[in-house]
Symmetry: C2
Subunit: 294 residues, 2 copies
Amino acid sequence: MRTAATEKATGGTREDRRTHPAPREPAYVHGYSDHEARRLTDQADTLAALLHAGTAYPAGSRVLEAGCGVGAQTVHLAASSPGAHITAVDISASSLDQARARLAARPHTATVSWRQADLTDLPYADASFDHLFVCFVLEHLPDPAQALAGLRRVLRPGGTVTVIEGDHGSVFFHPDSDHARTVIGHQVRLQAAAGGNALLGRQVQPLLAAAGYEDVVVRPRTVYADTTRPGLVDSFTRNTFIAMVAAVRDDALAAGLTTEADWERGIRDLRRTAEAGGTFHYTFVKATAVNPGG
Amino acid sequence: MRTAATEKATGGTREDRRTHPAPREPAYVHGYSDHEARRLTDQADTLAALLHAGTAYPAGSRVLEAGCGVGAQTVHLAASSPGAHITAVDISASSLDQARARLAARPHTATVSWRQADLTDLPYADASFDHLFVCFVLEHLPDPAQALAGLRRVLRPGGTVTVIEGDHGSVFFHPDSDHARTVIGHQVRLQAAAGGNALLGRQVQPLLAAAGYEDVVVRPRTVYADTTRPGLVDSFTRNTFIAMVAAVRDDALAAGLTTEADWERGIRDLRRTAEAGGTFHYTFVKATAVNPGG
């Protein structure tokens, strides 16, 4: 099956996916000192550290990153597993080009191979990999359980899978606002209409179990930002989460989910959570599991 | 001001407070083996470990636990800070009796003094303590900012405060259910009607800042339970969170918030999150801050 939804889901337009809160570069340059700029960068890196903590593959191990997109996670994989042989797969040639350039800009010693392929129909023999890494991908798939089962085919018995997903139902913030929660709900609904699931994080354990993996261990990774962490407020609350929600404005209006006035009120309230006195929580789910039979 | 709400808030009926998900003993005995019983106990202790991690006071330091209730947290404070001088205050003599008995049942070397007092009008001179510990108390206070400011009076300059609170808006689960979320909303509304705030966790940082504390550091502590952690499912999802919501049934019906049928459906759906394939997330907020001038 190759539809617009799976095209997107398998990485075709990863750069355009504003429907998930993956870490990304700040969207604008701050008028601060070098010291402040470094502090902001450090705090943006905090999010990647939070998500990648505990993920390091042994030298020589064969790692498949399924759905690498533009390489936002690949650079962290390469940094954390300098001796691993990483194969990064995406369906989009242009995304792979960007991923290559992104990795080339960072010093690393890992071996990274790039391959254009559909992760629901991988061109690899059974048991070709020791480890799978799947980050912010399942949320875009119409049948994530089937995808996980298909991925398991290329994983050797005893090999591991690591899954990282967000869940927009995990969001809570101060000041609280029905209007803000409503605009987030519109994003969730639009992603569902596109065949995805912005509430997937809560389902990772049952999905892995249903796909035949064993020893599933799920750990929540909660991001918290308040005025004492201005870099994280900028990089996560404003430039990742709110930007992601704000990006569906036209779709939400076109779908008749909201009016311009209601939309603006919701976004305005959401932005207040990034101002002085505001707080913002988001929980990612990180899971590891094992392919039986090792 | 001494009202039913503050009476409750300051610890008078701590044992009856089913409106907060504090760790508590399992409500029933499992028909499992000793090994399984130990495993369940271990997992129940996991929650206390999650909340108390990082909290240990130096030998000789003067620690005030404000609103100790029946001592559910006091036993962990005493275990983690064996050389500290802990003063545990509660407004209820009967709660203090229970707290004393609870602590006596556990071996410990900490010095614990008990005192019946209203935490909004403490009988201590300024700067009497080096550290304050306030756990699951602010959520019951009509004016938590004022209470924190009042507590700061008895804290020496340079001393620290530790605050732990839940936030029912942090809950998300699988299978998702509007009915389940609605019954949780009833509990939140009833607690608000009683002068409390079940969504207080998100406000801890601005509250501490408003009360004049500095160097506020907030860390989310997220509890996650699924079928791979049966002890935590029992001790937290079923016997803490769901039991707490279920306890307001009669009040919710009396207040006309729901019907028996809707209530039962919501609770039934909530219980499904504790069955095979279900998942449950709850985020506590733990903060530390410093009294300026040290």
